[in-house]
Symmetry: C2
Subunit: 116 residues, 2 copies
């Protein structure tokens, strides 16, 4: 069985701390200590989150022993977006229906307004 | 704490069977039996997946006791896409870099070609 890349990506994104880490890395590379600062969690807990992100290919880590900065890797995010794009017509359709409904309400309002 | 909608959405999408169920529902509403047909898994297993999808707001189920068709609900997919869109510049940047690199290779190839 081929590794299911999309499942790893979505599973990695299903956590607010991991999403916050990615948001931080979108501003530039950072060390584990820097990444841990804004969170009320231990360094080992942050390391665990980083392992999940690294396993999903969402971050890459430097190889220097002392300074191993983390960097964002956006490839899997593109694949996730490509998958979601197939459903765009569904949410756009719901908004179209809402627009139509609001337009009908507005027309009705104007018509009722003229009656009085 | 407010329920973390994005985490529920991504967790629900982190499974190939659940993504296949959503793909099937994108072709129209279907009963649990119809949804189970293509999969080598039991009805209770399918029901479990449907509960996860329903909890994440990704499907809606009819209320009739005998015929409870499932329907796709695209709202949470839009929210997930909106979140991912913030990272678009990163994957587009990588592709731009790749394009530049390929253009450089091509130019170099032409220049080397003229030399011979």
């Amino acid at each position: 069985m081929t590794p299911d890349r999309l499942s790893s990506t979505f599973a990695a994104l299903a956590d607010p701390t991991r999403r916050a880490i990615l948001a931080r890395l979108s501003a530039g590379e950072a060390s584990v200590t820097e990444l841990a600062e804004p969170f009320a969690i231990s360094l080992p807990a942050v390391s665990k989150h980083l392992k999940v992100l690294e396993h999903a290919g969402l971050i890459r880590r430097g190889r220097e022993a002392q300074w191993r900065p983390c960097q964002l890797e956006a490839g899997p995010l593109k694949q996730a977006t490509d998958w979601l794009e197939h459903y765009r017509r569904f949410w756009e359709a719901s908004f179209d229906r809402l627009d139509e409904y609001l337009a009908t309400l507005q027309k009705k309002g104007k018509r009722d307004g003229r009656k009085h």
